[in-house]
Symmetry: C2
Subunit: 555 residues, 2 copies
C-alpha cells in the first residue's frame, strides 16, 4: 500500500471557545481547601518543651486569622507586590503569615534566622521588605540589625499570651492587630505567575541569592509531591514539620498538607531530641521530614535514656531525609526499631525539595531498600534532569557516566532575584545548573556523588567525597566523616578524611575497611580524628572551613 505525500492540509483553525477554564494555580486554591473541605484538620504547635503543652487550631481558624492578618497588613500599607518578611520558627502563626501575605498578593520573604547579622540585613534590604513579622524569641536577633534596615516601616511581634519582647519596644503586637480586624478578607484574583515568596540561599561564597517562588510553582510542587510515589501524604497523616519554614518553604509541606488535609504538628523552636521524642509520642505523628543529623541525634538521645523510659515512636511511618546523603545504618535503625520507612529526597532552594524522591517498595527488605537508596531517589513528576560533562556534552543516563546535574521544570528557578550575574552563571541553555555532580540510571534514579566544588580529581579521575563518607560511616567506630581533596604533587589531588569517632579505631583499620569497599586508589592516605566537624547553617559539612584548616596547617 503506497503512501502519498500531500501538501499541508487546508488549515482549519481550532476556535479557542470550548476549551478548558482559565483557572489560576494560586495558593488561594489551597487556602480555600483549608477553609472548607479540610476545615477540621489541625495545626498543633508545641509551646512548652518541658510540659509538652501545645496549642491546637483548626485549618478553618488558621484561614480566618490569615484573613484578619491580611486586613491588618493592608492597614499597615502593604499592597500587592510588596515584600513582607517573617523571622520565625515553625508555628501556627507563621503558617498564617504564609497564607495572608501570599494570598493578599504580597510576597513573603522568609528570613533565614541562621544567617549572620550582616547577611540577614542584606537580604531584608535586597528584598525591599517594608514590614517584618518576628517571633518574640527572635526579637533580640532582629533588634541587632534593625538599625541597618531603614526600609522597614513596621515590626510585628508574634507572641504567646503573656509573652514579652523587651528588645523591640516599638513593635506592634500581632494579636492586638488581629483583634480589631474582620476575618473576611476579599482575597484578590491574581495571575498564577505572580510572585508569592522569596527565599535566600545561604551560599558559602558571596551575598545570599534570592529565589522568587511564583504561585504556580508552589501549587504545582504541592500537587506533584502529594503523589502516592512521592511524599505520599494523605488526609489521615499527621505530619511533623521539622524543616524550618524558612528553608525552601519548609520543603513545601504547608501546601501539601493544606491541599490534602493532613494535620500539621509544629515543633516551634524546640528542635532538641528530648522534646521532639516526647512530641512524636504525644501527637502520634506519622510522617516527617528533616536532615539526617536530626534523626541521628534523636537516636543517640533514645540510647542515652534509661531502659523503660524510651518514648514510643512507633507512630512514625515515613521519614523523608534530604540535604545530605543518608547513612544506611540510620535507615536500618529506624526500620528495625520503629518500622519507619526512611526515604531520601533531593532538592535545593532553587528547585524546591523532592525533585527526586522514592518511597520504598514494601516488598523489599530493609537491606535491599538501603541498597536502592544509595540513590537520592527517582525523578519526580514535573522535574526533568540531565547530566552535562565538563565540555558541555550531554551524557547518557546509564548509571555510570558522571556529570553536572542540570534541571528544568515549572518549579525550578529561572534565575535569582535582582542578580543578573548570578542568574547568567546559573542558567545553561534553559536548564538550571544545580552545582551537584552525579549519575542518573536508566530508570531515573539520581545518585549524587559530590558538590561540583567538592569533587576530588585524582590522576585525572573523579573520586566521590560523598561515597567515601558513606563508606566510612558504615564502620561501627565512625560517627561522622567528611572528605575533602588536598593538593598532591603527583596526583593533582588526594582525599583527606576528617573523622569523628564513636569508639577507638586506628588509621590502618580504617584503610583496610575502606579497601574492601572502594577502589584502592580511592582510599585516603591521611585521616584526621576530630571532636566535631563544622557544618553549614543547613546542616551540611562545611568543607570550606575544612579546607581552610588544611591551608592553615600548610601556610
Amino acid at each position: 500500500m503506497a503512501v502519498e505525500t500531500f501538501e499541508p492540509a487546508q488549515a482549519r483553525p481550532v476556535p479557542q471557545a470550548g476549551l478548558m477554564m482559565d483557572f489560576p494555580l494560586t495558593v488561594h486554591h489551597v487556602l480555600r481547601r483549608m477553609q472548607t473541605i479540610h476545615g477540621a484538620s489541625k495545626v498543633v504547635t508545641l509551646v512548652d518543651p518541658e510540659t509538652g503543652a501545645v496549642t491546637e487550631r483548626e485549618f478553618r481558624d488558621v484561614v480566618a486569622r490569615a484573613g484578619r492578618l491580611a486586613h491588618a497588613l493592608e492597614r499597615l500599607g502593604v499592597r500587592p507586590g510588596d515584600r513582607v518578611a517573617s523571622l520565625a520558627w515553625n508555628n501556627a502563626q507563621h503558617l498564617e503569615v504564609y497564607l495572608a501575605v501570599m494570598c493578599m498578593g504580597a510576597v513573603l520573604h522568609t528570613m533565614n534566622l541562621r544567617l549572620h547579622g550582616d547577611q540577614l540585613a542584606y537580604t531584608v534590604e535586597h528584598a525591599g521588605d517594608g514590614v517584618v513579622i518576628v517571633e518574640s524569641s527572635l526579637g533580640g536577633q532582629l533588634a541587632e540589625v534593625l538599625p541597618q534596615l531603614p526600609g522597614v516601616r513596621h515590626v510585628v511581634v508574634i507572641a504567646e499570651p503573656g509573652e514579652e519582647c523587651p528588645e523591640l519596644p516599638d513593635a506592634l503586637d500581632l494579636e492586638a492587630l488581629l483583634a480589631q480586624e474582620s476575618s473576611h478578607f476579599p482575597w484578590p484574583e491574581i495571575d498564577e505567575r505572580s510572585a508569592a515568596a522569596l527565599c535566600y540561599t545561604s551560599g558559602t561564597t558571596g551575598d545570599p541569592k534570592g529565589v522568587m517562588y511564583s504561585h504556580r510553582s508552589i501549587v504545582l510542587h504541592a500537587l506533584a509531591m502529594a503523589g502516592a510515589d512521592v511524599y505520599g501524604i494523605t488526609s489521615r497523616d499527621r505530619v511533623l514539620a521539622l524543616v524550618p519554614l524558612f528553608h525552601a518553604m519548609g520543603w513545601g509541606l504547608p501546601f501539601v498538607c493544606g491541599l490534602v488535609g493532613s494535620d500539621i504538628v509544629m515543633p516551634g523552636r524546640h528542635l532538641k531530641p528530648a522534646p521532639l521524642a516526647r512530641l512524636i509520642e504525644a501527637q502520634r505523628t506519622t510522617w516527617s521530614a528533616g536532615v539526617p543529623t536530626l534523626w541521628l541525634d534523636l537516636l543517640h538521645h533514645l540510647d542515652s535514656l534509661p531502659q523503660g523510659e524510651t518514648p514510643d515512636l512507633s507512630s512514625l511511618q515515613t521519614i523523608l531525609c534530604g540535604g545530605t546523603a543518608v547513612p544506611e545504618t540510620l535507615v536500618r535503625e529506624y526500620d528495625s526499631r520503629f518500622g519507619a520507612e526512611m526515604i531520601e529526597g533531593w532538592g535545593m532552594t532553587e528547585i524546591f525539595p523532592g525533585a527526586t524522591v522514592e518511597r520504598a517498595d514494601p516488598d523489599d527488605s530493609a537491606v535491599e531498600t538501603g541498597a536502592r537508596r544509595r540513590s537520592a531517589g527517582r525523578i519526580s513528576p514535573l522535574y526533568e534532569l540531565r547530566l552535562v560533562g565538563d565540555e558541555g556534552t550531554v551524557l547518557p543516563h546509564d548509571g555510570v557516566a558522571v556529570g553536572n546535574v542540570e534541571v528544568r521544570g515549572p518549579s525550578v528557578a529561572s534565575g535569582y532575584y535582582r542578580a543578573p550575574a548570578a542568574t547568567a552563571a546559573a542558567v545553561h541553555d534553559g536548564w538550571l545548573r544545580t552545582g551537584d555532580v552525579g549519575t542518573i540510571d536508566g530508570s531515573g534514579h539520581l545518585r549524587i556523588t559530590d558538590r561540583a566544588k567538592d569533587v576530588i580529581k585524582s590522576g585525572g579521575e573523579w573520586i566521590s567525597s560523598q561515597d567515601l563518607e558513606g563508606e566510612l560511616i558504615a564502620h561501627p567506630a565512625v560517627r561522622e566523616a567528611a572528605v575533602i581533596g588536598v593538593a598532591d604533587p603527583r596526583w593533582g589531588e588526594r582525599p583527606l578524611a576528617f573523622v569523628v569517632l564513636a569508639a577507638p579505631v586506628t588509621e590502618t583499620e580504617l584503610k583496610e575497611f575502606l579497601s574492601s569497599r572502594v577502589a584502592r586508589w580511592w582510599v585516603p592516605e591521611h585521616f584526621r580524628i576530630v571532636e566535631q566537624i563544622a557544618r553549614t547553617t543547613t546542616g551540611k559539612y562545611d568543607k570550606k572551613i575544612l579546607r581552610s584548616l588544611v591551608d592553615d596547617d600548610q601556610g
Copy 2:
C-alpha cells in the same frame, strides 16, 4: 498599642527576572517520562480472549512507535491544530495514537463507537477530522458512515499481523506506514493551553456536544489523580484499563500511568466477564476502574462457574467505580472475596472523572466504609464545587441542603466546541452546571441524589430516585432497580420503580422493606417487575426510555 493607617506604600515593583521557569504543562512531559524514567514499564494488550494471548510493549517502544506515527501523519498532511479521529477499543496502538496526535500538536477526536451511525458521522464532520484511524474490527462500522464524511481524506487501519479489514479496501495499513518512518520525531514546543483532544458527550437530547481538552487540563488532571488520596496509583501498580479510551480520555488513566510508570493492561474489545477474569488472574492486575455494571457482571460470572474453577482475582487491590451509584452489596462482595477496595468517584466528560473520589480508610471496617461511600467521594485537588438552588442562591455545604452541583477548575470545560448556545446554557457565573443534584457536607463529600432532569418533585419536596434505587438494590431479591417520577394529580409527581428480580418477592414486601429505610412518603405506590432495564451507551439507566414506556401506557 495603636495602629496607624498609612497611605499605600511606594510601589516597589517586583522584577519578573528571578521567577520560576516558564515550563509548559503539556503531554510531552508525560511522553518524555514514558520514554526515559518509565521506559521499561509495559503496555499489555489482550489479543485472543480464548487463549489469553497478549502482546507486550515497553513504554519506550510505545513512544518510539508514536514518533513513527507522527511522521506518517505529517506525511498525510496533518498539521498542528488539525483534528485526527480514532475509532478503537483499548490497545497499545490506541495509546500510540493518543501520544502521536497530541504531541505533534494536532487534536485527537476519540470517536464514541457506541453512538448511532448518524451521530457518529455528525461528530466527525463537526470536529472536522481529516484522518480517521480505525481498529480493523470496527471497519464495518466506519465503512457504513464513510460516504457521509467528505472531509475525511485518509483512513488508517489498526490491525494485528494477518488481520484483514475487507470493509475498508482503500484504507492505509498502520504497520506499513510505521515501517517506513523514523522513530525520532521533532516534537514541537506548544503552548499548554493548546487543544489536545476532543470528546463528544452522548447526550440523550440534541446533537452530541464536543469537549475540547487542553494539554494543561490533561496534565493537571493526571497530577491531581496521582495523589495518594485520589487514584493513588504507584509505579508498582498494574492498571487494568477497562474504561474505553473514548470515554473522557479513558478517565485519564493513560496519562496517570505514563506519569507514574505503572504498567497498563488493555483488554482490547474483550469486555465480557470470562476473558476479563482470566486476564486479571494472568496479569495480576492491582488497580482498575469501570462502571459498576461491569463489576456486577463479573461477580455473576464467577458465581456461575463450577467450584474449583474460579479464577484468582486476589491481585486486585483498588477498583474505582463511577458513572452511576455503586450498590453497597457490590462493595462488600469485592472486599470479602478478594480484599479489593472499591472506591467511588464522580465526574463527567466536561470535567474529567475523579472530580470527587475517596480512598477508603484502612482502619474502617467494610461496613463503615460502605456507609461513608454513600457519598460519591470527597472533592479532589484542583476542583471546586458549589450547590445552587433553583432560585440561583448558593447553598451551604452542610450535608442537608440539596442543590444543583456546579464546578470549576483548570480541568473543567469552559463550554462546548463550536456550540455557543449549549455553552451559554452550561456556564453560570464562571462555574459549569453539571446537571447533577445533590448535597455536599462540611468535609467536601459530594452526595449525588439525582440528575436534575430525573428529580422527582412530590408535594413540593424532592425525592431522590438514586437513593430509592440504592435502597431497593439492598434487598436480596432485587438485582436492578430504576425509579422515575410519574405525573400525579394530587402530589404533582410520585415515584415509580422498575425492578429486575433475582428471586421472587411481592410488591408488599418491597414496600415494607423500603418503609424501614426511607421516609414513608418516599415509598413508591407502584412497581413494575421487568426482565431488564434499558441503559444508555455509558451504562446508566435510560430514564428517557422508561418515561416513554409509561407515556405509551397512558397514551
